[in-house]
């Protein structure tokens, strides 16, 4: 009797077929209703304990240094610390690998990998890679983990060099030569500029002024 009651509670084959004829077939799209949503997301911040920050500083610094070493990827050659294995890989290849440098010089195939591990595109020059990262991946132009060789050099160049005029390089040895008094063949040396002063001329403002005065004297 119970089994019969249960049987009657189920849909018959005809009923199922009728329902199926009304149901659409094919893929269910994410937008198809009814789409029950997940638990609602609530934006949350972090409550920082200020006592942790204003604690024992020496202790904190020591532990912090240990953590930095443990939780970063550091280059065995130059001790540079990088946040991810991929960036360290790029660093080692691009900065310390002679074979890589030779391959770049040969230039037959692109060698510079993208900063993002998931992107598999390679480039011939760091400049091309940088442009790709800026345009495609929206990385900032001054991406701090960009380790192109020129970037570091530019940073450490003295400021005055940029502003100074282009001049011929004076060999170091000649700068260090001792002063030798000029020869004179029967003429007084006072007719010419004082050569000891000449040697230093142009170095300071005082010398320039002195030179101007001397020229004025001669012209007069």
């Amino acid at each position: 009797m119970d089994a019969e009651a249960a049987e009657s509670a189920y849909l018959s084959r005809e009923q199922i077929v009728r329902i199926l004829s009304e149901v659409p077939a094919g893929f269910i799209k994410p937008t198809d209703p009814p789409a029950p949503s997940l638990h609602p997301f609530k934006k949350l911040g972090v409550l920082v304990d200020i006592d942790d920050v204003v604690g024992d500083q020496d202790e904190a610094v020591r532990i912090r240094d240990n953590r930095d070493k443990e939780q970063s990827y550091s280059c065995a050659e130059c001790r540079k610390m990088l946040p991810t294995a991929h960036l360290l890989d790029l660093h080692i290849t691009e900065q310390h690998d002679c074979y890589f440098a030779a391959s770049v010089e040969r230039g037959d195939k692109p060698m510079f990998s993208c900063f993002l591990e998931e992107c598999t595109i390679k480039f011939h020059t760091p400049r091309q890679r940088k442009d790709h990262c800026i345009i495609t991946h929206k990385l900032p132009a001054n991406y701090r983990f960009d380790q192109g060789k020129n970037r570091g050099k530019q940073k450490h160049q003295p400021k005055s060099k940029h502003n100074s005029m282009e001049v011929d390089e004076v060999p170091v040895e000649s700068r260090n030569l001792p002063y030798v008094k000029a020869f004179s063949f029967g003429h007084q040396t006072h007719r010419t500029f004082y050569s000891r002063k000449d040697q230093r001329s142009g170095e300071t403002l005082d010398d320039v002024e002195a030179m101007k005065e001397a020229i004025n004297d001669i012209l007069d």
């Binding site: 509670a9 189920y10 849909l11 084959r13 009923q15 199922i16 077929v17 329902i19 199926l20 149901v23 659409p24 077939a25 094919g26 893929f27 269910i28 799209k29 994410p30 009814p34 029950p36 949503s37 997940l38 997301f41 609530k42 934006k43 949350l44 911040g45 972090v46 409550l47 920082v48 200020i50 920050v53 204003v54 904190a60 020591r62 532990i63 912090r64 240990n66 953590r67 930095d68 443990e70 939780q71 970063s72 990827y73 946040p83 991810t84 294995a85 991929h86 960036l87 900063f115 993002l116 591990e117 998931e118 992107c119 991946h137 929206k138 990385l139 900032p140 991406y143 701090r144 983990f145």
Partner: protein, 353 residues
Amino acid sequence: MESATTTAEGTLLRNKIRGYARDQRVECRMKAKDSLRIGLGQVKQEVAALEMGIKDVTGMASRIKRRKHATSEDLCRLSLGFLQGNDNINAFAAIPGAIQVLVKELTGPHIQRQTDAVECLCNLSLGEAHVSEKIVTLAGSYMVTYLDGKAERLKRSCLWTLANILATCDKAGKILLQMQLVPKLWRLYSDASGCQEDAAICLSLVATHCLQHVSDEDRSYIAQNLPEKIPEQPARDYFMYIVHQLEIVNQEHKLGAQQAEYLVRFFEATLAPPADRLSLIYGVRVMANLVALGDPSLMGALADPQNLVKTLNQLFALQNPDLSLDLMRLLKNYLQLNAADSNLVLDSLQIYA
């Protein structure tokens, strides 16, 4: 004389061992410490003494800008300031060059300072869409980069910040997805890294708010790496939602037999009690789409009519109206495959009227 030396050496050793034990204790405490999550404005009720106004925040911003550096204490105070209200957040975001100082600390050499900076940005991300956009433009790439790092707390803080941003601003979400966020999130979701729950939240936010910006490459990556997610790991209830919403199972993406089999196995695992309602609903949708692909070899265990009928009967017995409609669709897709005798299947079904 000898005994005196031995005593001195013993004391030295004991002190050293004590020192090591103390260091280890402190380190363990720092690692184990959890951060307390809190909503915007809640801090006022919690700690009234910490109240910071717009003036304080502006002053602090000017100070860090002037010094081009922010100490951990500055970052902590700013974090608390942002928690207190939207006005503080807007005031800080309006100062040109202030967020750049946070970015500088974020990209510095010390993990603790980086974490402090991310926590500060996390609280800043409680603001409106324009603030989120600014954060992503200046710091998004670094937060995405740190997801591949080793520092767990830093990773978690980055995920919290990214979740806030994804929930706030569509444009910021689009930029983040261009930074290959989806593959990184999927990797974190699949790894046993302790960040699965947070990565799952971010992925579900991507699936809910930024669906139109998800690229084909992102979808292919997930499709290829589906089997990396183990059903026993945390946050498994998000899995089917993510797979369905991101349309991983459709005609455009070739799903391999291994991936399809894995999906069926995952679905079977979700049937085991206690079954999560949403996992079941989205699981059925994913299965309906899998069958709609029209390839019986991709259906794994569900290709067997007896197994399919048993599963359908189990689910129809729940008498959930949302579920029943999708189950009918799954059944219809299956019958259209002609993989089994339709009459036999229909006669074996037990669907409550």
